[in-house]
């Protein structure tokens, strides 16, 4: 256990794989999670993130590879022999035991003396002291969540695993618990490995985010770095939203790579371009773009990339306004505009020019198309909407 005498150590996964039949849930994963960090594994359901977590917990046997904490290989240890604890999805609190006994469970199994002082201290930490003698079913979702955290943390594990810990809470409580979990982590200094499908949750809480897809890690880094500079189409679409334009390489200009698409030429800084082949995708985040009425086109700075189009939808969301702009090649771009100026907004039907700095542009390998990582349900919805529009009777 990570008590004062022993420093917290890094968690290493080396060539970790897990196959269910022929399906590789986790595929040759190598990863070091630094001691004391708040690490998020982010991905859609079925990407292998939960399987990875369960292998670290010892609840699933890897098909290959090793797991170690510091120099100690724990791959062969069974779940109850590992210095790792889990906050389960939907908490898995023991319904027949009261809160006190739930929290004391791990200590009692390890025959620790003086359980009650530790449990009371832990319950005080999560502000549940008065609830000690209640059964889990008598607690609200947020309280149950804190019991689950207390029950795991009281064992002072080397690594705390959190499996979608906030998934069962409503939005408001989720935001509150994000802050609280982060504070607890800072306070106890334990390595937290947090599995989630909620990108906002991952970005808010973690100092390192790993985006997982099909059993592999697509990109790993600080949340802001990943967001500002996605390296694959999957990350660009899965983490936040992106406008992606399919094109082809068209030479160089200074430090910029040029890409031509649908008759336009876009400049991408060479350091921000990850394309290798003949298919290149030019990408930009919606909030980096500025929208101007066509008559004001002379105000677009020289060094900016630009696209002409027609406004097809305007949604006012308070903080910002979201525009949909149809390009001449029938692609809808999404643009977020901060509502700093009152009035003077574009309207549906306006001919506009959309522009953005080359410094905000990124280049991606485009061999797999622009929709990798988009929620398939969203794609289906878009297709259905197109069909509805096409079928609508002329009026």
């Amino acid at each position: 256990m990570a008590d004062g005498s022993r420093p917290v150590e890094d968690l290493h996964l080396r060539n970790l794989s897990k196959k269910f039949g022929d399906v590789a849930a986790v595929d040759d994963l190598t990863l070091t999670i630094p001691a004391g960090s708040f690490f998020a594994l982010l991905g859609a359901s079925g990407c292998g993130k939960t399987t990875t977590l369960r292998m670290v917990a010892g609840l699933e046997d890897p098909t290959g590879g090793t797991i170690s904490i510091g120099d100690k290989d724990i791959t062969g240890l069974r779940a109850f022999e590992r210095p790792v604890n889990t906050v389960f999805q939907s908490y898995a609190l023991f319904p027949h035991l009261d809160i006190f006994e739930n929290v004391a469970f791990g200590l009692r199994r390890r025959k620790v003396k003086d359980v009650s002082a530790q449990v009371e201290q832990m319950l005080a930490l999560v502000e549940l002291g008065p609830m000690a003698r209640r059964k889990p079913a008598q607690l609200s979702g947020g309280q149950q969540q804190r019991v689950a955290v207390a029950r795991a943390l009281i064992n002072r594990p080397d690594v705390l695993l959190l499996d979608e810990p906030l998934g069962a809470l409503d939005l408001k409580l989720r935001r509150q618990m994000q802050i609280e979990l982060k504070r607890i982590q800072v306070e106890v200094g334990t390595t937290f490995v947090h599995v989630t499908h909620d990108q906002e949750e991952a970005m808010t809480m973690a100092d390192t985010v790993a985006v997982m897809n099909s059993g592999r890690i697509e990109q790993l880094g600080h949340p802001a770095d990943i967001y500002e500079l996605p390296r694959t189409v999957f990350v660009a679409n899965f983490l936040g939203q992106s406008n992606l334009i399919q094109g082809a390489p068209a030479g160089h200009s200074g430090d910029d790579v040029l890409v031509s698409a649908f008759g336009e030429t876009f400049a991408v800084p060479a350091a921000r371009s990850f394309a290798v082949g003949t298919d290149v995708i030019v990408g930009v985040r919606p909030e980096k773009m500025t929208i101007l009425d066509l008559v004001d086109e002379h105000r677009v700075p020289e060094a900016h990339n630009r696209v002409h189009g027609r406004v097809t939808d305007v949604s006012y969301t308070g903080v910002s306004t979201q525009y949909l702009v149809m390009t001449p090649w029938d692609q809808e771009l999404i643009v977020f505009e901060q509502n700093v100026v009152v009035g003077d907004r574009c309207e549906v039907g306006d001919e506009v020019v959309v522009h953005w700095s080359t410094q905000h542009t990124f280049g991606l390998d485009g061999s797999a198309g622009t929709s990798v990582g988009v929620d398939p349900e969203v794609l289906a919805l878009e297709a259905a909407a197109q069909a509805l529009i096409a079928d609508a009777p002329e009026s």
Binding site: A57, G58, L59, R78, A79, F80, E81, V84, N85, T86, F88, Q89, S90, A92, L93, F94, P95, H96, F105, G106, R109, R110, A124, L125, V126, E127, L128, M131, R134, A137, Q138, L139, S140, G142, Q143, R146, R151, A152, N155, Q176, I179, E180, R183, I184, E187
Partner: protein, 278 residues
């Protein structure tokens, strides 16, 4: 008219419940009867004689005790064997799952008369002496299936994460079973045992085939029906009915109180300031 249409189904439901209790009312009422002739089938006059002297007729109480003995022993053994099967079925892989399931399902789909006859055929062929032993053997046999089904449902309904959580919290497989799995399955096992006891206690057909000269409470009633059932039988049956009803209603009451406690939510304290203070 509108009121009637809205509440029609409720009225029918209550009528059906009343219908279910008509014979019970008759049984209870006749326990306070002083029958005019041998047969206690029609009301004559009020009397507490049977209640005051509940064992007054030879054989009534001894058959009653016999049935309780058979019920207790059969239930104990069948609950143990059936629970073991349920655990094996849910938690282990083995060959012959189809045959196993069939062998558990069939006793519940077999008419009692066929089960009674086939067991008797076995005992006769083996020249096995009929008596309390054979009746217990038969009862254990038909209770096992009900126990398996009940306990299996409970096990399957259990969140597998609870056992994972126990393992994660340093519980060895043995400790996981002792502190998590068993306590959670226990209500199912108790329920199965209560059901098993009531099936055994009330069984007539299978017992009758395999009892030889042994007289259980239902066999006593059957025999007495020809020459008139003594009022004491009604008194004892009323007693059993009331005790069983009280047990079940008690369990219901406890369950309700627990649910009430859940309905009173506890205020959500703010964790953040406490954390910053500690």
């Amino acid at each position: 008219m509108r009121w009637l249409r809205r509440n029609l189904i409720g009225i029918i439901a209550i009528l059906v419940l009343v219908y279910l209790f008509i014979p019970i009312a008759v049984v209870i009422a006749l326990s306070f009867n002083n029958p005019s002739g041998k047969f206690n089938t029609s009301w004559n006059e009020f009397s507490l004689d049977a209640w005051k002297n509940i064992c007054g007729v030879p054989g009534v109480c001894s058959s009653f005790v016999t049935s309780i003995q058979i019920g207790l022993v059969s239930t104990l053994i069948a609950t143990l064997l059936g629970s073991m099967i349920a655990f094996g079925l849910v938690r282990y892989r083995f060959r012959g799952r189809g045959t196993t399931n069939l062998l558990i399902f069939l006793p519940m789909a077999t008419p009692e008369v066929v089960m009674g006859a086939s067991l008797l055929a076995l005992f006769l062929n083996l020249r096995f002496p009929l008596g309390m032993g054979t009746v217990m053997v038969a009862h254990i046999m038909f209770i096992i299936s009900f126990v398996v089904v009940t306990v299996k449902a409970r096990l399957q309904g259990m969140d597998p994460r609870l056992e994972e959580a126990a393992r994660d919290l340093y519980a060895s497989p043995r400790a996981t079973f002792r502190y998590v799995t068993f306590p959670l399955v226990l209500p199912g096992i108790i329920g199965a045992a209560l059901l098993g006891f009531s099936l055994s206690f009330d069984d007539f057909i299978i017992s009758f085939f395999n009892a030889g000269t042994l007289v259980t409470f239902p066999i006593f009633i059957w025999g007495a029906a020809q020459r008139g059932i003594p009022v004491q039988v009604n008194a004892l049956a009323t007693l059993v009915f009331v005790v069983a009803l009280l047990i079940v209603l008690g369990a219901q009451f406890v369950g309700n109180r627990r649910r009430k406690a859940l309905e009173a939510p506890v205020p959500e304290p703010i964790l953040v300031d406490r954390l910053s203070r500690s």
